[in-house]
Amino acid sequence: MSVDATTVRRIAHLARIAVADDEVEHLRGEINAILAFVEQLSEVDVSHVEPMTSVMPMEMKKRADVVTDGGDAEAVLRNAPVTERNYFLVPKVVE
C-alpha cells in the first residue's frame, strides 16, 4: 500500500499537525518508504494467532474506588500556557 498527497494531508489533519504544501511530497516519500518496509509482515501466516494484548500475562490489579489525590489546582495548572481563575484557557469553541 502507498499513500498519495491527499492521504498525507488527511493523516496530518487527523494527527493535528499543520503541514505546509511544500512538505507534502517529501513526507509522502518517507511514509511510503516506511510502508514498503513493513509490507513484508503480510507474508506471515497469522490465521490462528491471537494478537498480543498484554506483554506479561497477568491479571490487572484494581485499586479501591476512592479519592487518593487531588484538590491542588495550583499544581495542576502550574505548567499551563494560559489560565484564568483555576481554568485552562483555550480559544473559543462554541459560537
Binding site: I31, F37, V38, E50, N79, F88, P91
Partner: protein, 492 residues
Amino acid sequence: MSELAKLTIAAARDGLKQKTFSAVELADAHCAAMEKARALNAYVLETPERARIMAKASDARIAKGEAGPLEGIPLAIKDLFCTQGVRTTACSHILDNFVPTYESTVSGQLWRDGAVLLGKTNNDEFAMGSSNETSFMGAVTSPWRRKGSNTPLVPGGSSGGSAAAVAAHLALGATGTDTGGSIRQPAAFTGIVGLKPTYGRCSRWGVVAFASSLDQAGPFARTVRDTAIMLRSMAGYDPKDTTSVDVPVPDYEAAVGQSVKGRRIGIPKEYRIDGMPEEIERLWQQGREWLEAAGAELVEVSLPHTKYALPAYYIVAPAEASSNLARYDGVRYGLRVPGRDIIGMYEGTRAEGFGKEVRRRIMIGTYVLSAGYYDAYYLQAQKVRTLIKQDFEACFAQGIDAMLTPATPSAAFGVGEKGGADPIEMYLNDVFTVTVNMAGLPGIAVPAGLDGQGLPLGLQLIGRPFDEETLFSLGQVIEDAAGRFTPERWWA
C-alpha cells in the same frame, strides 16, 4: 580529572562507608567533570546546587549510620524521567519549559535509597531515534573517537546523553529507557553496560511515554555489578503503573560472580544477518568461547520470526506514540502556538513543537490506526508480535537459560552520517535489540572488545522474563574476560 569520578559505584560505596571521602567531595568531583565536558552535550541540565544539597544530606545520614543502598552515589537522569521541580523536556521543543510537580517512581526510588542527582541527560526527542541526533537540544558527541581521527561520533540513542555521561566519567551511573534498544545500543556504542529489564519490572509512572507496551526503564553503569546495584533500587511494584508486576525484587548483586556452569546458552541462528561485519561475527564467536570456558553449554537455537520484529516494531511503536503524544495540544502544559481557532492552535502547536522524526512517527501511527487500515497493519503487527514471543518461549521451554547475540550490527557512526535520506537506514541499528522489547524480555549489553578503529563493540544477553539475575552472572563472565574500556579524554 579527579580520581573520584573514575570509581565504580561499588568502590564509591565502600569509600563512603569507610569515610575515605565524603559524598560532597564525590558530588563536587563529578560537577567539575560535568562542567569541563560541555563539548559533549551529554547533559541538557546540570543541577550542581541540588547535587550539593543531596550530598550533604547523604553525609549526614552516613554519619548517623543510616545510609541507604545508594547513599551519596551521584547519578545522571535521562530527561525523559519527570523530576519534581527540575525541568524535564524529553528533549522536545514542545516541553522545553516543563517543570514537573511530581517525581517519577523510578527516580524517586533512587533518591529514597540515597542517590544524588547530577543533572538531566540528553536523548533523542521523545526517545525516538538511535543516535541522539533528533534531540531539540542538539546532538550528543560520543567521548569515543576513531583512532587518529577527530570526526565526531554519535553515542547511540535514544539514551545517548546518559551513555556518554557514564562513559566519560561524568556520572557513576545513569538511568535510561529502552523501547527498541535505547539503552543497549548506546551502551554498546560507548563501551559501558546497559540493561533493559523485563517489561513490568520497573514502573513507567512519571516517565514521558513513547510506546507504552514497549517502554522500560533501566540502568547504565561502567560494570555489570554497578548495573545490578542500580536495578535493585529502580525495580519494584508500583500501584500507579498497572503494567508493573508484583514480584519480589531480588538482591541482584548477589548474582554477580555466580557460576554459570551448566547454564544453557542459545545462539539464535537468525541473528547471523547478511552483510554483518566480520568484526561483529568474530566478537560473537569470542563471546561464545568465553561463556564455554566458564562452563556454559552453547546450543544453536532458532527464532524464526526475528526478521519480522523490526517491521512490526515500526507499526506498534508509532501507533502507540501517536496515541500517547496526543496529549501535547498546547492546553495543559508545554508550548502553545496561537491559531485562528482551537484546531489551528493544535495544528500550529504540534507542527512547531515536534521535530521531524517525531512528526513522521506520529503520522505513520495515525495512518496505521486509521479506519480501514487497523486490521492490515496494527492487528497484523500485534499477531506477529505474539509469534516473536512464542519463538523465545519455545527455546526457554527446551531449557535454554539465556541467549547470546551481538548488541549492534556495527560500531558507532559519525554525526550526520546515517538516516539523512532514508529513515530505514537508521532503524536497522536496532535489528538485534528490538525483538527483546517485542517479547517483553530482559536484555543486557556488555562491552566485549574494540573494533579495528578502536571503537567499542558490545554483546547482548537475552534472558527469561524476570530472570535478570542470570544476565548479571553471564555478563560478569564477559566483563571478566573482555576487561573494561575507557575513552581517551580529548575534551577539556
